[in-house]
């Protein structure tokens, strides 16, 4: 990652900017959403791999700042939703795409299915990721 930052620094013009945009592993909420109502069904469980990836990324960016490549200009968090038509669709996706870095306990799955079954016909299931966006500026 440090090498990647050095390469990005090389190809940027003096004063150029780097935008770092990524999700932060956390106990993201799982929600059942309909037009009339949104209910939280529980939280995902962050697995060690996801936490380790975040730590490595944070360490690399801090290292880039310490070594004088980039200066942090501003940053903030914002929500990013993954949304599915049904709990089954969500389950399939989580198993295929997210199994390495998050888990969902059986009790949360039961709650998701229960809320979705009782919700209005337009209900969807979603996970609310916590996104971090940071603007860095090349400093030398």
């Amino acid at each position: 990652m440090v090498h990647a930052l050095e390469e990005i620094w090389r190809v940027l013009v003096a004063g150029g900017a780097l935008i770092d945009l990524r999700p932060l592993t956390d106990r993201w909420p799982v929600e059942v959403v309909a037009v009339r109502r949104t209910e939280e069904a529980g939280r995902v469980t962050a697995l060690p791999q996801g936490l380790a990836d975040d730590a490595a990324a944070n360490g690399a960016m801090s290292g880039g700042e310490r070594s004088g490549l980039f200066k942090r200009e501003r940053e903030e968090f914002f929500p990013f939703h993954y949304s599915w038509d049904s709990p089954n669709d969500m389950h399939e996706y989580v198993e295929q795409e997210w199994a390495d870095f998050l888990g969902i306990e059986d009790a949360v799955w039961r709650r998701i299915r229960s809320l979705w079954a009782l919700a209005d016909a337009d209900a969807r299931v979603r996970v609310r990721l916590k996104m971090l966006i940071t603007r860095w500026v090349k400093v030398k």
Partner: protein, 98 residues
């Protein structure tokens, strides 16, 4: 299995809040299937998207909007050996790349 990613378009809204793309030469590291690229590319001067995954780049190429053929280049490349000269870009985006 149909998933919607960021239906509210928060990601590109915040991206535009953090960078004015007008007239800029942009490098997107980890452009993947172009999901984010195609949401800002129309305002940039030039966009170069790189990714290691050839299949994702193929999808990105298929989903390229009309009029962007001369604006956006998609390249299979590794971020630790960027195949570009020094000072080639005004803005770099690390999108979900770490």
């Amino acid at each position: 299995m149909t998933v919607q990613k960021d239906p509210e378009r928060n990601e590109v809204r915040f991206l535009r809040k953090y960078a004015d793309f007008a007239g800029l030469r942009v490098l997107e590291v980890g452009c993947g299937d172009g999901r984010l690229t195609w949401r800002y590319a129309d305002t940039a001067r030039q966009v170069t998207g790189i990714d290691l995954e050839r299949d994702d780049l193929r999808i990105a190429s298929i989903e390229r909007g009309s009029g962007l053929e001369n604006t956006v280049a998609l390249t299979q490349a590794d971020s630790i050996h960027l195949p570009f000269r020094a000072n080639a870009f005004d803005l770099a985006i690390l999108a979900w790349s770490f």
